[in-house]
Amino acid sequence: MNPVYYLYLAALLFTIGATGVLIRRNAIVVFMCIELMLNACNLAFVVFSRMHGNLDGQIIAFFTMVVAAAEVVVGLAIIVSLFRTRHSASVDDASLMKL
Amino acid sequence: MSFPLLTATAVLPAVGAVATAAVPAARRTAAKWLALLVSLATLVLAIVVMVRFDPGGARYQLTESHAWIADFGVRYELGVDGIAVVLIALTALLMPFIILAGWNDADPLETGSKRWRPTQGFFALILAVEAMVVISFEATDVFLFYIFFEAMLIPMYFLIGGFGDRAHAQGEEAASTQRSYAAVKFLLYNLVGGLIMLAAVIGLYTVAGNFSLAEIAQARANGTLHMATSTERWLFLGFFFAFAVKAPLWPLHTWLPNAMQESTAPVAVLITAVVDKVGTFAMLRFCLQLFPEASKWATPTILVLALISIIYGALLAVGQRDIKRLVAYASISHFGFIILGIFAMTSQGQSGATLYMVNHGISTAALMLVAGFLISRRGSRLIADYGGVQKVAPVLAGTFLIGGLATLSLPGLAPFVSEFLVLVGTFTRYPAIGIIATFGIVLAALYTLVLYQRTMTGPVKPAVSAMPDLKARELLVVTPLIVLLIFLGVYPKPLTDIVNPAVKQTMSDVHKTDPKPAVEAAK
């Protein structure tokens, strides 16, 4: 088997995550989908690392993880405080971007 | 370095605008006096410019030049030729009258709020317009000109949209809606023109590498800067379009009636007598100088459009029921004459066009301001609401008649000289166009006299029976304008002496000479 299949898998997972972001209304689930996308990218980085025979790809994946962690922390905090004020975790409860 | 006279002329009203705007709400009258004083001081500076200008000297005088945006070759370059000098003088001259005429136009309706300062805003905006117009006349850097050509729209937009006639027939709300419509229409038309011009300005830069009018014109003249024919034509069209909107030339004219109809009379004068002149002035200065070949290429089309403007504007003026709209269409007709004179490419035509700009400014100011006084007394712009005014207010009627006679170019008043020069200048090169344009003078008589007859003569209508005659302030506005109209009609030499050399240079820019008469009869 050629390791390139890992890349296909990563692409597939990324797409599923992206579609999820667009379809789901629950902000938490949307967040999970974003995590899924990030993980798909990480997989790709790891596979690239293997492809090139150096560890830089893994380093990037590592950084991605750290950033993802930071993002999740802040994002979930935002969701919680939003929920406190709006009593909803829906991303389209208010069409906030409309004048 | 000598005293930057031109900068001072433009900066003074700008500073005045800021100072006027800063006057506290309660000191309304102080703001008015401040604006008036600033405009008078500017007039003094403009007169100094006129005196210091030597008609026999270099083309651009009193020049100032400083680096501004070095990366793009944009310079702060000012300079005036004879045409600019008289137009600056016109602008500076009309401002005190505009301010005086609009003395009470922007008083707040209720004096409750401490923070609401419409009066200050009104006069500050007027002064801001003056500053920008003056610098547009002075700029010899295309980019510098463009900036102020466009920036002018901002204060004008607020002047049109923010201040209208009192006591509107259809109620304040309808008036406000129509005002916004007019203001937006004004802005959109001019913005579209300006944006097209911006493209042409950038295009010019890519071709020429800098924005200096003098440098480009010289490079064009001695052949170091070659433009492909199509390039030159496109650039010309880009510039001309913007100026034609501003001027306004048929069929780009429809913003003017709306704008003049909805704004107060002083602002209407500001639009047609001052701001629009930048358009026609720029045709002379930029279109002809930068793109002489393309100008000649476009001349037939432009002349036909100008001719349509003349006849069409006059015919529409005849059909109007609204006094201000009538004056607006009359102005369109007159702008047709100005453009006709510019593009006839004869000395008489161009001198006439330049004089026309000045005279039209003064005559329209006289007519429009008196019309404004009339409208403010009755609270209606409709011609049908008046009748027999001369019986109750003879001085008002008399000044109105003189303004009207100036509009129809009665000999002895200033506009006649310029109109005749334009007609002669056109006729020598394009007889057919000259003859058709002459019909304009008949139509001018028609709309003016019909207006006068319907409003001023006949039995006194009950609604006007108690109308007061002109007050001292209003007389102070009208009398000097009328005196000027008569003086310049009888003795236009001071202006022509300044204008002639500049026209001669413009003629040589486009490589045109006047047609020779068939018989050499002159001594």
């Binding site: - | 002669v424 003078i441 003569t457 006194v460 026209v503 068939a518 009869a521």
Partner: protein, 631 residues
């Protein structure tokens, strides 16, 4: 001496300025200021006239250069005055008759509250008219030309509260403007042809230009003359102009302003001499107008309108004579001067009648007035005799010469023109006799007006009768004075030139024929109006009479074609401007508005919706990248 010329104009101009700007405090003395300044101008005129008489025949042209008016490259317009025999004649006529009419107006306008302004306008008119005849170039002449138009406008519409007066004033100005258009085109043509429009160079080089150009210039000048002198086809304003006060009708619309067209043609004689086609048109216009005016004059019951028709007709004579070239120039001017006397006298007489009759103008309400106003009757009667060409009086000499000159034109044209002039003389005799009989003879026919006031005809005050008497004297003797020893001919000849022409019939025959026509005209009028009582209400009359009452349908034509047509044109243009020109722009705006309204729905504010767009965009970018690599 030539420095006095400007003073000729300055005096009435000063009067106009003082009276119009001076305000109410001059109300009491305004009329005297006006009269004084007008007379001052007359005195200057006389001084200059004496000076001219003292000079050699060749040296009678005085030029005063005041200043350069419009200096533009290749275009030089100066304020320069030229006083020669031709202008001198006019100056004397204008200031002389003008001063008399000022004096008359003092009485006539005594009770008018806006009297001061009336005199201001009169002075303005004098200044403009003097400028017209004294100008040394066509552009300056044009200033005077429009200036008299303005004064005429102001004076016709003097009683502005009457809508009819305001309308008549506007009409006069507009019709005149059409003529002015001709003058301005003529000036432009001169400028392109000669490079100048000063009298000297243009007239002396006229023969150098091609005949086509000269014909064009001549026709344009004729258009101008038609407008100002109420010649067919621009005559329609003169009848309505009678809405103005009667002294105005006398001064402007009889004696002076309306003759400006004749002055223009005679002044431009050099051009017309070189353009025979233009001359022919001039004579045709003159002949048509002299008949037209005469026919209209026969049908009018309004005394002033009848006289207006007569004015038109008499100016037709002058234009006809002017169109004959050097044969006729002198007689055109001579008739102009004598006409100035007798027609002004007639109008003043009519004014005096109206003054005594509560401003009644309908001649059918007059009758038998000779007993009530003898001075008016006598002066009017002398004017009447002069105009019909009673032997020995002014009109006899001048009109007879014109008829002779018309025959002297030669060929078929001469016969036709001469016959027209003769027929015109007969009709003139008819309608003037009609006026005379209806006004002063027969039974009294006046009735109380709607307020029940019966008019009490009375003689006018001295201030009014004296000018009438002076004018009557002029009507009687001027013609004879001019003709004896061909004084007038010798006076004017250096300017206009003169040639005798070759008349197919002798002068005596022409005079005889004229006399016969005169008798026929008077006779018919007597039979119709002297022998039978005049009905107080006009009978229906024949088709021609009815048409003549309506100015031979000219107004109806104008109304239907020009007024209605114009109204439709402007109205449809207003519509076009609103819907089409504005509509295109507004439509574009609305299109963009609608489009953005649609597009706006895409911006629904839902973050997810935007995310789809972003994602779609990303997909497109990937696709584009792949495509680029594939290519």
């Amino acid at each position: 001496m030539e420095n006095l010329i400007a003073l000729l104009i300055a005096a009435p101009l000063l009067g106009a300025a003082v009276l119009l700007v001076g305000g109410r405090r001059l109300d009491a003395v305004g009329q005297w200021i006006g009269t004084l300044l007008s007379t001052t101008s007359f005195v200057f005129g006389v001084i200059l006239f004496v000076d001219l008489l003292g000079r050699n025949t060749d040296d009678r042209t005085l030029i005063q250069h005041l200043y350069t008016w419009v200096p533009v490259a290749g275009f030089q317009a100066d304020v320069t005055f030229r006083l020669d025999q031709l202008s001198m004649t006019f100056v004397l006529l204008i200031t002389g008759v003008g001063s008399l009419i000022h004096l008359y107006s003092v009485g006539y306008m005594e009770h008018d509250e806006r009297r001061r302004r009336f005199f201001g306008y009169l002075n303005l008119f004098l200044a403009a008219m003097l400028l017209l005849v004294l100008a040394d170039n066509y552009l300056l002449l044009y200033v005077g030309w429009e200036g008299v138009g303005l004064a005429s406008y102001l004076l016709i519409g003097f009683w502005q509260h009457k809508p009819s007066a305001a309308t008549a004033a506007k009409k006069a100005f507009l019709v005149n403007r059409v003529g002015d258009m001709g003058l301005s085109i003529a000036i432009m043509l001169m400028f392109t042809t000669f490079g100048t429009f000063a009298f000297g160079p243009v007239l002396s080089h006229a023969t150098d230009a091609s005949e086509g150009r000269l014909t064009a210039i001549g026709l344009m000048l004729l258009l101008a003359a038609c407008g100002k002198s109420a010649q067919v086809p621009l005559q329609s304003w003169l009848g309505d102009a009678m809405e103005g006060p009667t002294p105005v009708s006398a001064l402007i619309h009889a004696a002076t302003m309306v003759t400006a067209g004749v002055y223009l043609i005679v002044r431009s004689g050099a051009i017309f001499n070189a353009a025979p086609d233009a001359q022919l048109v001039v004579t045709v216009v003159g002949a048509v107008t002299l008949l037209f005016g005469a026919i209209v004059g026969c049908a009018k019951d309004d005394i002033k309108k009848a006289l207006a028709g007569s004015t038109m007709s008499q100016i037709g004579y002058m234009v006809l004579a002017a169109g004959l070239g050097p044969i006729g120039y002198v007689f055109a001017i001579m008739h102009l001067v004598t006409h100035g006397f007798f027609k002004a006298g007639l109008f003043l007489g009519a004014g005096s009648v109206m003054h005594g009759m509560n401003d009644e103008v309908d001649m059918r309400r007059y009758g038998g007035l000779r007993k009530y106003m003898p001075v008016t009757f006598i002066t009017f009667g002398l004017g009447y005799l002069a105009i019909i060409g009673f032997p020995g009086l002014s009109g006899f000499f001048s009109k007879d010469k014109i008829i002779e000159a018309a025959f002297a034109k030669g060929g078929t044209e001469g016969w036709i023109l001469g016959t027209c002039a003769l027929v015109g003389a007969a009709i003139t005799a008819f309608y003037m006799t009609r006026v005379m009989l209806m006004t002063f003879f027969g039974e009294k026919r006046w009735q109380p007006d709607e307020h029940g006031h019966e008019p009490h005809p009375h003689e006018s005050p001295k201030v009014m009768t004296i000018p009438m008497i002076v004018l009557a004297v002029g009507s009687v003797f001027a013609g004879g004075f001019f003709s004896i020893g061909d004084r007038f001919l010798h006076w004017l000849e250096p300017i206009t030139g003169h040639s005798e022409g070759d008349s197919p019939i002798s002068a005596g025959v022409v005079t005889g024929a004229t006399m016969v026509c005169l008798i026929i005209g008077v006779g018919i009028a007597y039979l119709q109006y002297g022998r039978r009582p005049v009905p107080a209400v006009a009978p229906r009359g024949s088709l021609l009479t009815r048409a003549a009452r309506r100015d031979l349908l000219q107004d109806d034509f104008n109304h239907v074609v020009l007024v209605r047509g114009g109204e439709h044109l402007t109205r449809s243009l207003v519509y076009v401007d609103h819907t089409l020109v504005d509509g295109v722009v507004n439509g574009t705006a609305a299109g963009f508005g609608g489009l953005s309204g649609r597009l706006r729905k895409l911006q629904n504010g839902y973050a997810r919706s935007y995310a789809v767009s972003m994602f779609g965009g990303a997909a497109l970018l990937v696709a584009a990248t792949l495509l680029m690599r594939a290519v």
